[in-house]
Each structure stands twice: as structure tokens, then as C-alpha cells.
């Protein structure tokens, strides 16, 4: 089955209730036995005594969506997963809020877990997205992934 690129981007934080609703939608897919979910939450890091209060995300959206499509297709080819859902915030996400939601499901747990981990790693390494960490005093620094 050929899949078309999906828009992973959401303006602002991803509400926790949206995660619950996404899970609920899978109750009709009775071939599923396992769900694996990763959530990125904005951390109140400190740098030079200043506290991060939010991250503002920007992206090269068209390229990110093409790349994400490639990552998704390669995960579908590699793992026997039933479905995958990926969401990433754009714009401002406050500390304590969710900025990344990766959700994979499969009949048996191994596939869902491995696919979820691989997708998270690839999102962080390969998607042209940038986080600007905003300090309480209006300064900022650019986020660095490791």
C-alpha cells in the first residue's frame, strides 16, 4: 500500500488529552496487541543561571514532511507494525508541555517498541526542525540535540 505524506506538525503543544483520544481510536483494530508511545516534554533546563520557560520550534516544513514520509515508509518495511502516528509541535511550547508524540502499534510488542525507538532517533537526527530555548528574562539559546 502506497501512503501519502502526512502533516506531522501541530501549532503549539500537543495536549495530553489528544494522546488519550489517539489511543482510544485503536480499540476497533483488534489485531493490535501492543502500543508503544514516546512523548517529548519541554524541560526547564538551566543555562548560565537562566531557566528555559519554553521552546519555540521552527522547521523547513516541506523537507521535514518528505523526510518523515521516508522514515515512516522505511519503518513500515522493516517492522510488522499495524500503524504509526507522529506529531511534532511548531511555535511555542512551554516547559511541562508535550512537543513530540510518536505512537506505534503492532500485534506483538517487539515491533511496536523497536519501530517507536527508531522513529524517535531518526526524527531527532534527520528532520530539519530547530528549537529555540526561551529564557524567563527574554533571552534565548538554540537547542542542541545529542
Amino acid at each position: 500500500m502506497k501512503r501519502t505524506p502526512k502533516n506531522i506538525f501541530r501549532q503549539g503543544a500537543i495536549p495530553a488529552s489528544f494522546v488519550g483520544e489517539s489511543i482510544a481510536k485503536h480499540s476497533s483494530k483488534t489485531e493490535i496487541g501492543a502500543h508503544s508511545i514516546f512523548l517529548g516534554q519541554v524541560r526547564a533546563d538551566e543555562a548560565e543561571g537562566k531557566k528555559v520557560t519554553a521552546i519555540e520550534y521552527t522547521a523547513y516544513e516541506e523537507m521535514a514532511l518528505e523526510k518523515m514520509h521516508e522514515i515512516r515508509e522505511s519503518a513500515f518495511a522493516k517492522y510488522p507494525v499495524t500503524c504509526m502516528h507522529i506529531y511534532h509541535s511548531l511555535g511555542k511550547v512551554k516547559t511541562g508541555e508535550i512537543c513530540l508524540f510518536v505512537f506505534t502499534s503492532s500485534p506483538h510488542r517487539k515491533a511496536a517498541i523497536e519501530a517507536c525507538n527508531e522513529i524517535v532517533e531518526r526524527i531527532k537526527a534527520e528532520l530539519p526542525i530547530w528549537g529555540k530555548e526561551l529564557f524567563e528574562d527574554e533571552g534565548y539559546q538554540w537547542k542542541v540535540n545529542n
Binding site: G40, Y60, H88, I123, K124, A125, W130, G131, W142, N145
Partner: protein
């Protein structure tokens, strides 16, 4: 030629793009940019042409979408 820039590069160029003329290929692009903006020499970035990252010197044509991408920090 309009070159799109992202992330920390927007601080250097003071916006989301920079205009450069007479840029036949990516090596020339880098050389001329670094002449004009020496701070770039200390920065890491990739060049994407039409959403594909190019790592070797590549000819640029009119209509190419050329972007400078600093290290990604999504998630």
C-alpha cells in the same frame, strides 16, 4: 539567488533568507557567504538543494531551492 536559512543562521543573516548573486555552484556559495559573514566559518550547517542535502560541490540552476540548515534540534 535567494537562499533560505533556518535556526541559528537566522540570527546571522537577520532573517529567513539571504540574497547572493553569481553563484554557479555550492562551493562558490560557501566561499562568498563566508567572505561576507566570517562568523559562518565557525558554524556547522548543511546545504540542501530542492530538499536534498548535498555534500559535494554541486551546480546551482535558476529555480533551485537552496537552503542552509544548521544542526537539527527537533524533539
Amino acid at each position: 539567488m535567494k537562499i533560505l536559512v533556518f535556526g541559528q543562521l537566522t540570527d546571522i543573516f537577520g532573517g529567513s533568507f539571504v540574497r547572493m548573486e553569481d553563484i554557479p555552484d555550492t562551493d562558490t556559495l560557501v566561499r562568498k557567504l563566508e567572505e561576507k559573514y566570517p562568523v559562518l566559518k565557525r558554524m556547522k550547517y548543511l546545504i540542501a538543494i530542492n530538499k536534498e542535502i548535498v555534500r559535494e560541490n554541486t551546480l546551482l540552476a535558476d529555480g533551485n531551492e537552496v537552503c542552509l540548515l544548521p544542526p537539527f534540534s527537533g524533539g
